[in-house]
Symmetry: C2
Subunit: 153 residues, 2 copies
């Protein structure tokens, strides 16, 4: 048996919300920490987001809670087409994906697609890139791969 | 600020499914591992399950995938009333809860309830006990607390 994710470590659990201010405050209260800063993804010229094979202007607000073993991420999508907006509209607020760190994103995307997990969305962020796959039918959650560029010291 | 979960470590992510055989095989293929054994929770005389304050006969089939940093759990509920059955009926297949390990379950339940997170379900398993809380409105996911008995060596 070959693994699509050797030595899997879940790096993130991400939850879709309608009001990130409200929900991040609720988590801050729950964990007894300061409300984290709410970040907004870059514009599409930088993020090069593609959803279902087409460019989209979609952006999200994000907030991160760092646990000792992984990140809990909150995501509030805008109205442009994206996995985030469609998933939120279809399933309501709640968990959207679990994320794994990988190296060699291009090869991973090919490997996933050849194993009947089509690419759903991909994009860039400062220092790395991500990809979401159509895994809902089989795995009942969206799988995200994250690749951070190595810092060549 | 006081934390309901000091030094939070997410011990489990649990996903509700209709057909645990099928989904656990899909995850086994995905991770490139053997399909794990499917376990069934004990009968109610042993588990003492209470859902919304009432005893229930509810049992589940469970399968666990051990990552290096946490467990991914699959749950197929039976038809008796439970957080698992009601959540599956209401939201469909997908993530149900994230779990944190705690010590002092009774005190934790009191603390959660005094912070407007009412107990939703609780029960016993060999070597420990669990509690689920009504956190969907605020946190968009069910929170589970797990307490394992200490092995007195």
């Amino acid at each position: 048996m070959s693994s699509l994710i050797p030595n899997p470590v879940i790096a993130q659990i991400a939850i879709l919300v309608n009001d990130i201010d409200k929900v991040s405050q609720a988590y801050a209260n729950f964990f007894g920490v300061e409300k984290p800063p709410i970040k907004i993804t870059d514009t599409a010229d930088k993020t090069q987001v593609e959803y279902q094979g087409k460019s989209t202007q979609a952006r999200i607000k994000m907030a991160f809670f760092q646990m000792s073993n992984l990140q809990l991420e909150l995501i509030e999508p805008d109205e442009h087409p994206s996995t985030w907006r469609d998933h939120l509209n279809k399933y309501g607020e709640g968990p959207h994906h679990i994320a794994f760190m990988v190296e060699g994103m291009k090869e991973k995307i090919s490997l996933f697609e050849s194993n009947a997990f089509p690419l759903q969305q991909k994009g860039e962020y400062t220092g790395g890139r991500y990809a979401y796959f159509n895994t809902m039918n089989e795995l009942k959650v969206v799988i995200e791969l994250l690749e951070n560029d190595r810092n060549e010291a």
